[in-house]
């Protein structure tokens, strides 16, 4: 009966409100009619707030016109027998940021260390030492899926282990922005400020998403200053060095570099294999080392993709009952590896390298042998050797019909330069990251 009345109410409202509003906000509600009125159960706070704010009156009017006006209407969050406290429309609570929001899986113990991340790990270990405030703030930057969040949260866990009562907040930057918007809307900025400015440690992830959000940057700037002045811990992550983020205020960029900035690089082959073997052990997968090497050689870009490959392999093996071998992995990961092959082509490498060094593609493929052209050309050849499955003659052919010995020489030269010239090595790593991310 209650459901019938609610259905009649919805049908009635449909004639007065846009269909999308009814579908978006009212249909997810569960109606409970009782002696003392109507309880509308919303699936989440957003729906509840919207109904409270804009749709309570149309509901009341519709029921009244149907001759079933309830004594009162409450909009609550919950489903089934779960009943939340009634909410006052003018004072929705802030999200519970008192919780630290840490993922239990992200600890130092589960972090696989290699050359590419050992400095960042060491810095994070230092930052987890409450007595050592030398590295404050700690900025960890690098491409996606390389373990920045893992390291940051590991610090949080370690701080909590040392002091279970520590007030620690892990928050993604866009969440910080959304919380601030909610606080402004409901005139609760003081509480928002107080919460963030009285933490023992603030871990804020992916600050590149602050770009272009001026008011949020302003607030974060003051929060940042307050915490630093109080000698509280701040750890930040970014997908690149903050100075390279467009739309981020200069004063914030400057502040971020006050402490220690450490990069996390894409893992090299040995680390990729170690990560695969470690994850396989964790998930109870029997992964032969040659299969780990096969995947590690083909999936170069980031740890998430390695995990994705491993999960796919595990599922395929469970479904087919097959033993995991290199041949099996080739079959099971065929689609995923094909995407890598499609994205990293000789042509794409040439185009990317030419853009990176701001030279013309025609020059890269041409006969000029000046150093400004020859070095990028050699780098492009070496990248093609590393990132594609093409043979040396095929690569030579792709570079204006050059001999395979020229490619071989280029690969050797690049290897030598990477060991002796830091800037050259940085360029190579950057290009590799751009091409595989």
């Amino acid at each position: 009966m209650a459901n019938t009345l609610w259905q009649r109410c919805l049908t009635h409202i449909e004639t007065r409100l846009p269909e999308k509003d009814v579908n978006l906000w009212l249909r997810p509600l569960e109606a409970r009619f009782g002696d003392d009125g109507l309880d509308l159960m919303a699936p989440n706070e957003v729906v509840r707030d919207q109904v409270e704010r804009e749709l309570r009156a149309p509901i009341a009017n519709a029921l009244s016109e149907l001759g079933e006006a309830p004594r009162r209407i409450r909009v609550l969050v919950g489903g089934g027998k779960q009943v939340a406290e009634p909410v006052e429309a003018d004072a929705p609570p802030l999200t519970d940021t008192a919780r630290h929001n840490l993922d239990a899986r992200y600890t130092f113990e589960s972090f696989v260390q290699g050359k590419s991340n050992q400095i960042a790990r060491a810095a994070a270990e230092q930052a987890a030492d409450p007595e050592n405030m030398a590295y404050n703030p700690l900025l960890i930057y690098g491409g996606v899926g390389l373990g920045k969040t893992h390291l940051m949260q590991s610090v949080g866990h370690r701080l909590l282990t040392n002091n279970p009562r520590a007030r620690i907040a892990y928050v993604r930057s866009e969440h910080f922005v959304n919380e601030m918007i909610t606080a402004i809307r409901h005139n609760r900025m003081e509480r928002f400020k107080e919460h963030y400015r009285t933490l023992d440690a603030l871990l804020i992830d992916d600050i590149q998403f602050f770009a272009g959000k001026d008011r949020s940057q302003e607030e974060f700037f003051h929060t940042f200053n307050s915490l630093l002045e109080a000698n509280q811990r701040i750890i930040i992550t970014c997908d690149r060095f903050p100075k390279e983020v467009d739309g981020l205020e200069d004063r914030l960029k400057s502040r971020f570099s006050w402490g220690l900035s450490v990069a996390v690089e894409p893992p090299e082959l040995e680390t990729r294999v170690a990560i695969l073997l470690s994850k396989a052990e964790f998930h109870g997968i029997e992964l032969p080392q040659e299969v780990a090497f096969f995947i590690g050689k083909r999936v170069r870009s980031n740890v998430r993709d390695l995990e994705g490959a491993l999960h796919r392999l595990k599922a395929s093996a469970q479904i087919t009952g097959a033993t995991i071998t290199v041949e099996f992995a080739k079959q099971a990961l065929y689609d995923m590896l094909a995407v890598y092959d499609r994205l990293v082509t000789i042509e794409n490498i040439q185009k990317t390298v030419a853009e990176y060094f701001k030279i013309r593609l025609a020059d890269l493929l041409g006969k000029k042998r000046t150093r400004t052209i020859a070095r990028p050309r050699q780098m492009a050849m070496a990248l093609a050797k590393e990132l594609t499955n093409h043979s040396l003659p095929e690569i030579g052919q792709g570079f204006g019909g050059r001999d395979h010995t020229t490619v071989l020489h280029a690969c050797r030269k690049v290897k030598e330069l990477r060991e002796t010239d830091t800037r050259f090595d940085e360029d190579y790593v950057n290009l590799s990251r751009i091409l595989t991310s």
Partner: protein, 230 residues
């Protein structure tokens, strides 16, 4: 049982794993079964239209909901407005199934919200299943952060059934009902009826009843007559 349906999208009664047909997507089906059983936390399905992705997502949503968990099926193709707050507030679900990821490709703010949702679900150990026309890296997403998160639990490619698959399916499903459906008859059905899989299965039901009632074999003339009278 609480199947939370954002937007009031009604899951069809047929949205079950048992009703999913076609051996060509057996791996996708088995992977969804792992999600439902809680043995896998996330999965991405890639494939063209009519390859069964929506059916599998809805089946996951329904089954997890039937097990008393809070699940949600979110077809992005149907919610272009006010998407961001919706996405952000699904973080408390036990299982979120997001269809038509393609729709938000290139919409930076929506992608950022999905990244946040992905991390929030992971922190709670909740399940996330998503589907799109291509593998995440090929969707044209603005944020590689999102592409890597979508593929984190592994991606399975689904394909639409071709005519030979559908004929084989008709013959096999007919045999399961005790019907002998000759291949030429199956080919005729495919040519003359709507060829989407649910319609073909419904046609098979009709023919099952008609052949039982008339005690006739499933010849092309009989099938033509039986379908003409429907």
């Amino acid at each position: 049982m609480t199947v939370q349906l954002v937007l009031g999208v009604q899951l069809p009664a047929s949205a079950t794993l048992e009703a999913f047909v076609g051996d060509v997507n057996a791996e996708a089906r088995a992977s969804i079964a792992q999600i439902i059983a809680g043995r896998a936390e996330r999965l991405y399905l890639a494939g063209p239209e009519a390859s069964g992705k929506t059916h599998l997502l809805q089946a996951a949503c329904r089954a997890v909901g039937d097990a008393g968990k809070r699940s949600c099926y979110l077809p992005l193709g149907q919610v272009r407005q006010r998407l961001q707050p919706l996405i952000e507030n699904l973080a408390e679900m036990d299982c979120v199934c997001i269809d038509d990821i393609d729709v938000i490709a290139g919409q930076r703010e929506a992608e950022i919200a999905l990244v946040g949702l992905s991390d929030a679900l992971r922190a709670r150990g909740s399940r996330l299943v998503a589907a799109g026309s291509r593998l995440p890296r090929e969707l044209g997403l603005a944020l590689p952060d999102l592409a890597t998160r979508l593929a984190w639990g592994g991606a399975v490619c689904c394909r639409a059934l071709d005519d030979d698959d559908k004929i084989a399916l008709l013959v096999e499903r007919g045999a399961q009902r005790g019907m002998t459906l000759p291949e030429p008859t199956a080919r005729w059905i495919l040519k003359h009826a709507d060829s989407d899989v649910p319609t073909l299965m419904a046609t098979l039901d009709t023919l099952d009843r008609a052949s039982l009632a008339a005690q006739r074999r499933l010849t092309i003339p009989f099938v033509k007559q039986a379908l003409d009278t429907v």
